[in-house]
């Protein structure tokens, strides 16, 4: 079947395109793009006047919980949440049960993703077996099975010598290493950002230096070994500064930021609502400002939501015992668009950080609307005002502190390989 997407404002940062163009799609690919295309007979035409056509969004940091924690999320429910949030490609962290540290788990994830047939799912393999920080996993095998990157995610590698070996070995295979930077000795027992609010609330603090010490360490390892490192969910001003300085020296370091870290501050924890418990924790207004500056000047290339779905039982407990994380896939674009509304980023800049840039970091085929490319396309209504309602989430995780928040702009259609996987268009006057 041939499909014509007509009259959209096509924003394709990979080709510096921002124009009213038509996109002609056949066999899952974009076969032609240009102004006022004449479609062949029998073409299905979708009128997208007033809407934006962007490259399918990419989130390089999500948790899909399967295998093992299906009560929180499954690959199918997570992929459904992805397309509902405008994402056509997601990369899932290995902290499942069992950990994705071997070929069979990677293959299982890919099979489940194929069965779900919604978004592209790219598994991230573990850096160490069982993510226990003791022995490096079989990266060659993981890559052959389909893993696109390596990370121990929430159990960062504390052993600097092992981290060096892991980065060297992974680099030779062209597998990016992603580090959740947290010195576990400095953060022991911490439940929120250490600062005025932790002092007031009597909650043990997680100091900003617990993140920065490891950002600094991994930058130095990357520099010394001439390898590369990707810093996940940057949350502090100090981390932004370390990364910016390293990039200026030519170190191969990239970074991502999560919407909650540029939207909320640690003050939100007052009241002990466990939906604000997240790791890294919400930081200070100065940190939020620095993360936004890092996004604006390019220090932080990508936006990734760290989608961390949890069941009610994980969150409806005392703050101390609650699980960390936010179910983010269905609010990520809306929150990130606030950066456009407040002038931090241009619309094209934002779209690049949510498609082209993470695709480049992971080296996956996504992030552009060039002719001949897979027709992964996100249609965004930039003016649609809506209210976040966790009860309408496709994700099994309803844990969002943004429930009830008013947003402007959202994905209204999501095409994966030329097929509509989400259609949320509302009747427009």
């Amino acid at each position: 079947m041939i499909l014509l997407l007509k009259g959209a404002r096509v924003i394709d940062p990979a080709q510096n395109t921002d124009d009213m163009l038509d996109l002609l799609i056949a066999d899952g690919k974009i076969i032609q793009r240009g102004p006022s295309l004449q479609p062949p007979p029998g073409t299905q035409i979708i009128n997208l006047a007033g809407l934006i056509a962007a490259p399918g969004l990419v989130d390089m940091h999500v948790h899909l919980r399967e295998p093992g924690l299906e009560y929180k999320e499954t690959i199918a429910s997570g992929a459904a949440a992805a397309v509902a949030g405008g994402f056509t490609s997601i990369a899932c962290m290995p902290n499942t049960e069992p950990v994705n540290d071997n070929r069979s788990v990677t293959e299982f994830i890919l099979r489940k993703a194929r069965e779900a047939d919604l978004a592209h799912v790219y598994p991230i393999g573990a850096l160490t077996t069982g993510s226990d920080g003791k022995r490096i996993a079989e990266y060659w095998d993981l890559r052959e099975a389909g893993a696109v990157a390596l990370s121990d995610d929430g159990k960062p590698v504390m052993d600097a010598a092992l981290m060096r070996r892991a980065m060297e070995y992974a680099y030779s295979l062209d597998l990016p290493v992603i580090q959740h930077c947290e010195d576990k000795d400095l953060s022991t027992g911490g439940l929120m950002n250490e600062g005025y609010w932790s002092t007031q609330l009597g909650l043990p603090g997680i100091p900003s230096i617990s993140e920065e010490v490891m950002v600094g360490r991994d930058i130095l390892i990357a520099e010394y070994t001439c390898t590369r490192i990707h810093i996940a969910h940057v949350s502090t001003a100090g981390s932004v500064r370390l990364i910016r300085d390293a990039q200026k020296r030519g170190v191969q370091v990239t970074a991502e930021a999560a919407p909650h870290h540029f939207t909320l501050t640690d003050q939100a924890v007052a009241g002990y609502n466990t939906n604000y418990k997240v790791n890294p924790p919400l930081r200070t207004p100065d940190d939020v400002k620095a993360v936004k500056e890092g996004l604006a000047d390019g220090t932080i290339a990508a936006i990734a939501c760290d989608h961390a779905p949890h069941a009610r039982t994980d969150k409806e407990v005392e703050f101390e015992y609650a699980a960390c994380g936010i179910s983010g896939l269905e609010t990520s674009l809306g929150l990130s668009l606030e950066l456009v509304h407040d002038g931090t980023l241009t619309l094209a800049g934002l779209i690049a950080k949510m498609s082209l840039e993470p695709a480049r970091i992971l080296n996956i085929p996504a992030g552009t609307l060039a002719e001949g490319q897979t027709a992964d396309i996100t249609i965004i209504d930039p003016t649609l005002e809506w209210t976040v309602d966790v009860n309408s989430f496709r994700s099994l995780g309803k844990n969002s502190p943004f429930h009830g928040r008013r947003m402007k702009g959202r994905a209204v259609m999501t095409f994966v390989q030329g097929v509509v996987k989400y259609d949320g268009r509302v009747a427009r006057p």
Partner: protein
């Protein structure tokens, strides 16, 4: 009489000076009951109070229990283990079960900061926070303020020094909020490892030397050192701590002549306070604090069950 327009007592921070004064005045009027031969009045007959303690406590639990009994309320003590939060009934389920039994007040102590707030949002009963993690211990601060008012005739204008592990102390936080609201000048002191980050933003001056804080103080409040903190490298040894942060005759001499010395208990003799100071009736008001504790808790139970309306 003014009414306490609150469902719960979760912390001093959200209290007004009028509310604090009302509670202290009410407590003062209850002090006399504990001196009677028959220490019981029928005021709360037919009311029930559940003491839900997830953390070991002798003083506070006994004090709440006696307070309820002296007002003729039925009091029930439940000791729960926080270890059962992993396996077994959640706090929310426990709360819903207790709520279904229709008590009037639930007094809760919990090692997790914010646990009383979770409870308060769930059940229709009044919740009294009897200590949540390192957050607040409002009834302790109220009894401390009652004791200061009793001994000094006022709170406003006094210099109060709080010494010890401020970072991990709910007593310190509640007193900082309460005493500052009532017009006292609050200073704190302890090794830097025991001072929480940005503590000055709570409205206090912080020192790392005991002597600096105690100088010209009207009130010195010593905090209990938790011995297990030694293992976390917060201080090197009890010996070194005691040499520099133990209140003794010499350093207390820097305070005002008529200084009073307080301690929320239980005390570590010779660690944070020397025995001759703790036992000196000319300055130590430690046992007055305990006595006032019952009256303050009577006042809280009375005011929360609609007393004065």
């Amino acid at each position: 009489m003014i009414k306490l327009a609150k469902k719960d007592i979760l912390g001093i921070q959200e209290m007004t000076t009028e509310e604090i004064t009302l509670i202290l005045d009410t407590a003062e009027s209850f002090l006399e009951i504990s001196t009677r031969e028959i220490k019981k009045v029928p005021t709360l007959r037919g009311k029930s109070v559940i003491n839900l303690f997830y953390e070991a406590s002798t003083r506070t639990r006994t004090s709440f229990e006696l307070a309820g009994k002296r007002l003729s309320a039925d009091t029930i003590n439940i000791s729960a283990s926080t270890s059962s939060v992993v396996k077994g009934e959640t706090l929310i389920d426990t709360a819903r079960n207790l709520e279904a039994m229709n008590p009037d007040i639930i007094v809760i102590r919990h090692s997790a900061a914010g646990a009383p707030h979770l409870l308060a949002g769930l059940v229709r009963q009044s919740i009294i926070n009897a200590g949540d993690g390192a957050h607040e211990h409002p009834s302790q601060a109220l009894l401390d303020m009652l004791t200061i008012r009793e001994k000094k005739g006022k709170i406003a204008g006094l210099k109060v020094a709080i010494i010890g592990d401020i970072a991990h102390s709910r007593v310190a936080r509640s007193n900082i909020y309460g005493l500052s609201k009532m017009g006292a000048e609050v200073v704190v002191a302890g090794p830097p490892t025991m001072l929480p980050r940005e503590v000055d933003k709570l409205g206090v001056r912080a020192y790392t030397k005991l002597e600096e804080a105690v100088t010209d103080a009207d009130v010195v409040m010593m905090l209990r050192i938790q011995l297990e903190r030694e293992r976390q490298n917060i201080f090197p040894s009890l010996r070194e701590y005691a040499r520099h942060y133990c209140l003794n005759r010499l350093n207390l001499g820097l305070a005002k002549k008529d200084v009073i010395v307080m301690h929320p208990g239980p005390i570590n003799r010779g660690v944070e306070i020397s025995p001759d100071i703790a036992d000196d009736p000319s300055c130590s008001v430690i046992l007055n604090q305990v006595n006032n504790g019952v009256a303050v808790r009577m006042a809280l139970l009375y005011l929360l069950t609609g007393g004065g309306q």
